[in-house]
Amino acid sequence: MLELNNVEVTYSDVILALKGVSMTVRAGQCVALLGGNGAGKSTTLKAISGTLKSEDGTVSAGSIVLDGTPIQNMEASEVVKNGLIHVMEGRRVLRHLTSEQNLIVGGHMVPNSAELKKRLDHVYTLMPRLADLRNRTSGFMSGGEQQLLLIGRAMMASPKIIAIDEPSLGLAPMMVRDVYEVLKQLKSEGTTFFLVEQNSAAALSIADYAYVMENGRIVMDGPADKLADNEDIKEFYLGVTASGERKSYRDIKHYRRRKRWLG
């Protein structure tokens, strides 16, 4: 349903952030994209959703196809009309609006208010915390609360595919579990997911397929369960040693040589 072919992204006409990235997301699947800081994960999402432009970036080569429509460098609002919603990093709530108004804006394309009401209720049942906060000015909510709101707002549009950037960012452990429950629920309802996540354990628990990115290139990909067994993934993303135990942060060796994939 979503396909990236050899995508290159350039910022400010000079910084090449993606260097030929290809990936495929099939309908109903959840695909996870893992990678270190600055690997280019968020850039990939922005390239798909068309929000690159606001940061002076462009897709300078390759193509992105959503359901047969090429969407590279398309206006962000048009991409949404094609059924893809991007939940951006950075907790960008509409700060002066209340939590509920944020949700309504999320559902602004809903044809009638009965349907809107239904979707609101759906969000509130899945995330009861948001119901408590509905009249709170979203800009004043805590980091985690805002994160929840963003997920709820994306749900309001009931898109075919949600591209979501680090949903678990800043959430308490219990909340992470809850959010992933919600995602699983949505997935079971047929939503496709493109998931960028640092919490790799959680991501791999829901994903069908995963890509690993370094330095603007895909360095590894495979079915999620296969990747979860990979030694390197275990060490760098899941934080477990080869023997399968979690190592203590206190015991980190000082100048450990870092292992990098060579793309």
Binding site: K53, S54, A76, S77, R92, R95, H108, T137
Partner: protein, 294 residues
């Protein structure tokens, strides 16, 4: 005493005219976060369109007024298309600065198209004032005041209660987020400019009815500014109150204080009031508070 009350009423009505022009600012601001410094120029353009359709083309008022509003809307749309669309995604600061450039440019353009002469403006509202006993109330201001209040109520309902209004608010909050949720930022800004241009044209009709039209008319943009800030840039309803207060203060100053000091305190009094209010409430009476969160 009667005269005093009359001065208050006239002042309030003039204040409402300021509110109407300020509404142009606020609508554009509410829907795009762009503060349009060229608002006064929109008033002139509106004025020239009205002048053109009536005095030049010789259409009757019933025809020329709606036609002027349509044309003004088109001009607003064109300005948005030519100058602002390309800047979506750029910082709000650059967009605002474009309106500064626009101010210089529109002046030149109007000069080019309409020439520099002083023009008689059609009499749109009856010249004869309304007499209430000893009081006399200019018709254009009275009708203008009513229009202003109706417009304010309507627009404030639109922005606060309808989903399209909410959409525009979302655009003003964050262009990128709005477009990532499928809201057309272009569309929203275009609507704002169309509305802004139309409001300015109505303002021009009330302001200039039966008077003359020159470049100086753009000064009303700067006279209306304090009203917009006093109310707070997001508040359409608040404009009414702010306009009335500033209008009355100005009227009383011009009529009772200026003769004493032999100067023109009346023209700076709105700014002084605005400064005072902003020092107490930095975002105006009803403006959104700045949200700072770490």
């Amino acid at each position: 005493m009667v005269y005093f009350i009359n001065d208050i009423i006239t002042g309030a009505l003039i204040g409402l005219l300021y509110s109407l022009v300020a509404m142009g600012f606020v609508v554009i601001y509410r829907a795009s976060k762009v503060f349009n410094f060229a608002q006064g120029e929109l008033v002139i353009i509106g004025g020239f369109i009205v002048w053109f359709t009536t005095m030049q083309a010789g259409l009757s008022l019933w025809l020329s007024i709606p036609l002027s509003l349509v044309l003004a809307g088109l001009v607003g749309y064109a300005i948005e298309r030519i100058f602002l669309t390309k800047l979506i995604g750029e910082s709000v600061f650059s967009m605002v600065m474009v309106t500064v450039g626009l101010l210089i440019l529109l002046r030149g353009l109007v000069l080019l198209v309409f020439g520099p002469a002083v023009r008689p403006f059609p009499i749109i509202f009856p010249l004869k004032p309304l007499f209430l006993g000893d009081m006399l109330i200019p018709m254009n201001l009275l009708i203008g005041g009513i229009i202003t209040i109706v417009a304010a109520v309507g627009l404030s309902w639109f922005f606060n209660r309808t989903r399209s209004g909410l959409r525009m608010t979302a655009v003003a909050e964050d262009h990128v987020v709005a477009s990532s949720m499928g809201i057309s930022v272009k569309g929203s800004i275009a609507v704002a400019w169309v509305l802004g241009a139309i409001l300015s044209t109505i303002g021009a009709m009330i302001f200039l009815s039966g008077k003359s039209l020159t470049f100086l008319a753009s000064d009303i943009g700067f006279a209306a500014l304090p009203v917009a800030l006093f109310a707070g840039l997001e508040s359409i309803g608040g404009l009414i109150l702010a306009g009335i207060i500033i209008g009355i203060a100005q009227s009383l100053t011009t009529n009772y204080l200026d003769p004493l000091i032999g100067g023109s305190l009346g023209s700076v009094v709105p700014y002084i009031i605005m400064l005072a209010i902003l020092l107490i409430r930095p975002t105006g009476l009803f403006g959104w508070r700045t949200i700072e969160r770490v």
